[in-house]
Symmetry: C2
Subunit: 439 residues, 2 copies
Amino acid sequence: MSKPFKEIGVGVIGFGTVGTGTVKLLLENAELLRKRVGVPVKLLQVADMDTERNRGIKLPNGMLIDNAMRIVRDPNIQIVVELAGGTGAAKDFILESIRGGKSVVTANKALLAEHGTEIMRAAINAGVDIGFEASVGGGIPIIRTLREGLSANRIEGIYGIINGTCNYILSRMTKEGKPFAEVLAEAQNNGLAEADPSFDVDGIDASHKLAILIWLSTGGRVRLKDIYVEGIRDISPDDIAFAKVFGYTVKLLAIAKENGSGIEARVHPTMIPSQYLLSTVDGSNNAIYVKGDFVGSSMSYGQGAGMLPTASAVVSDVVEISRNLLRGSTGRIPPSGFSLMNQNMVTKIKPFEEVQCEYYLRILVMDKPGVLSRIAGVLGKHAISITSVLQKGKEKNAVPIFIITHQAKESDMRAAIAEVDKLSEVLDRTRMIRIENNL
Amino acid sequence: MSKPFKEIGVGVIGFGTVGTGTVKLLLENAELLRKRVGVPVKLLQVADMDTERNRGIKLPNGMLIDNAMRIVRDPNIQIVVELAGGTGAAKDFILESIRGGKSVVTANKALLAEHGTEIMRAAINAGVDIGFEASVGGGIPIIRTLREGLSANRIEGIYGIINGTCNYILSRMTKEGKPFAEVLAEAQNNGLAEADPSFDVDGIDASHKLAILIWLSTGGRVRLKDIYVEGIRDISPDDIAFAKVFGYTVKLLAIAKENGSGIEARVHPTMIPSQYLLSTVDGSNNAIYVKGDFVGSSMSYGQGAGMLPTASAVVSDVVEISRNLLRGSTGRIPPSGFSLMNQNMVTKIKPFEEVQCEYYLRILVMDKPGVLSRIAGVLGKHAISITSVLQKGKEKNAVPIFIITHQAKESDMRAAIAEVDKLSEVLDRTRMIRIENNL
C-alpha cells in the first residue's frame, strides 16, 4: 500500500563536517535523488547551535535554525538525519524522532555502541527505519553488503581496515621508514589525526565498528568488552622492515572469524602477506575483506571518512528509507538484517587467550653465545615452535632477534614472552605482532 | 501491509552448474535464510530436462521434475529462479511467471541483453520483482551497490574487470610471459575457457555486463552497438613486458565515463598504472572500480563466476524479494534503480572516434636511420605527441619500437596508424593499446 507522499521531507541536525557534506549532496544532487526515488527528496530544515559560521554553502533563508527539536517535531519531515554527534542530546533527538514516527539516519558510532540496543528496539517497535551505513567504512556500503548483498552466506571471516588514521600512519611508516610518533605528529598537524589520538590509534574506534559488523553477520549483539583491542603505538619501523623481508605488510586489522570452535573478535596490528589485495590498501582508505561460505573471498574498498564520502553513505540511507516510505514498508529489514526473533541474542565470543595464530617476535638481547638457544628453549616449553629467525647487525652489544613462529595459542605465547623477558640476556620488553596467513 | 506468508516458496528452473549451487545453498543455509527473512524460504521444486545426472546433491523424492512449466504455474511458488540459460524457453518461463504474479531471479545476461526491456516492462506492469544480481560480477553485489549503496552519487566512472576468463589469461601471460594462444589452450583444457572462447576473449560478455552497469548508473538503456568492443587476442607478451617497464599492467577493462562531453562506453585491453588496486586483481577474479561525485573512489572485488559465488548472488535476490513479499512491497525499487518515469530513456553514448586517451604503440620497423623521425612526423601531423619511446634489441633487421603518447583523439590515432603502416620501413601492422592514467 503506497502512502501518498508527494515529496519526502528531510531535516538535518548537526551542521559540522558530515552535516555540511550531507546538505551539499541533498541540494546539489536533488534532481538525481528525485529520479531515483520517484518524488523530490527535500531538505526542509538544518539545525545547529552555531548558525553563523560560514560553511561555504548558501542555504535558503530560514532553513538553518538553532533548535533541533523543531526538526524532531516538524510534521512535514519524515526523515531526521542526526549528525550532531555525542551521546547526550543526540540520543534524545533520535528517540524523540522515532516516537514521533519518523525514520532516522545517523553516523553516530559512539551512540550506537553505547545505546544501540535501546535505539534499535525503539525503531522496531515504532515500525520506522534507522539507517547507519555511515557508521562503518565511510562511503563503502558495507552495512548493505552484509545485510543484503551477502545475505545468503554464513560469514566465516571479516578482516577490516576500518580506521583511516591508523592505516594512514602505518602506510607512511612503511613507505618512509619513520617512527610512529613522528608520523602521528605530522598527521595531527595535517588534521588527519585528532589532538587526542587515542580513540583511533589505540584501536577503540575499530572495535566499535567491528562490533557492528559482527552484529550484522550473526544477528547477535557483541559486548565491547569481549573484543580484544590493541593499537599501533608499539609498532616500530624495524618491525615493518622485518615484515617486508619475510613478505608481510603490517596493518591494523579488525578481525572476526568463525572456525568451528567459536567466534573470534579482535583488533590488533597484524602482519598479512604482501601479495594480498588488503596489503595494498594505502593511506586513509578503508577496505573490508569478507569471507562467506558461498561467495568465497570478497572485498569492498573506498574512502573511510571525510565530508563527501560519509555524506554519500548518509544519503544512501535517506534514499532507501524514502523508497520504503513510498511503499509503506519501513521496517522491512530489521536493523541487524536478522528477523526480530533474534533481536535479544548476544554473540558469544571465544576468550582471546584461546585464539591461535602465528606470531612475530622482536627480542632485544645481549650479543652472547647461547642466547638464541635459551629463548628457543623457553618457547618450546610453551609448545611454540619457530618457523624462522633473523638476527640483525650488531648495535653495540644489543642485538634484536626477529622470530616467526608456527601456530600457537595466545595464552601460551603470553606465558612464553613473560618468561623470555625474565632471561638475564634480554634487554627490553619483547614486542609481538600477530600474523594472519590464510585470509 | 503484510501478506500472511507462512513461508516463501521457491522453484528453480535449470539444474546445471549455477542451479546446483543455488539448490545447495537453499538447502544447506535454510536455517540462516529463515533467520534473515523471518519465515522459511523453501525450495519446493527443481526442473531440468535431465533428471538423471548425478549432481552430488540428494533431493527429496519428487522435487526434481522435467517440466519447468509446472514451476511457473505452481500456486505455492512465489519466486521462480530461472537458470536454464538461452533466450528461447527461458524467456517464456520468465514472462509466464511474471504474468502469473511471480517474482523472478535470473543470471541470464544474454536474455537481459536481448530482451531486457520487454522483461523489465512486464515485471513493472505486474508489480513483481526481477532480480539479476548474478548477471554481473558473480558473487560481487555490484547491482545493489549501484542501485542502493551508491544511490546518492552521480556516477562519474566505472572501470570493471568483469570477464574472469580474460583476466585469468592476461594474469598468466603477465606472470609467465607466455603468448595468448598457449595460455588460452591451457585454460580451455582446465575448463576455464570455453571451446569457442569468442564470447569471452573478444570482449562481448564484458560489453553485455557494461550495458547493465551503465543502465543502473544513468537510468537509461544502452544499445549494445554503441559500446566499442575489442578483445585480448592481439596482446603479446612483449606488450605486457613493455607495459611493466613503464609501470603499467594490461587488463581487459569495461569502461564507462562521464566527463562533461558525454558518456563513453568501451571494452578493450587497457594499460593502467601498476600501483593501482585494480592492477593487482589477479586470476579469474572480478573487480569493479566506481567513481562517484561524492563517494570518490570505491571498488568491489570478488569471484566473478563459479557455482557457489553465483549462487550467493542468486539467493541474495531471493532474500530481497522474500522480504518484499512479506511487506507487500515488491516492485519497491524499479529494476534500473530509477523511477519509472525514466524507463524508456536511452543513454546517449559518445561516438568512439571522439574519445580521447593516451596510447601505447608497438611498431615493427626495419632498422634504418631516420625511421623514428618519419614515424614521429606522421604522428605529429595527426596532432599526436610522444611521451616516451623505447627501441628493443635488434631481431635480425626488424626492430620493434614502443611508443607512449600524450592524450590524443581516437580518430586521429586511427588515421595516424593507417598512415604509419603504409611507410615502407614498417614491416607489420602496428599494435595499439589504450592507456588510462586517471582512474
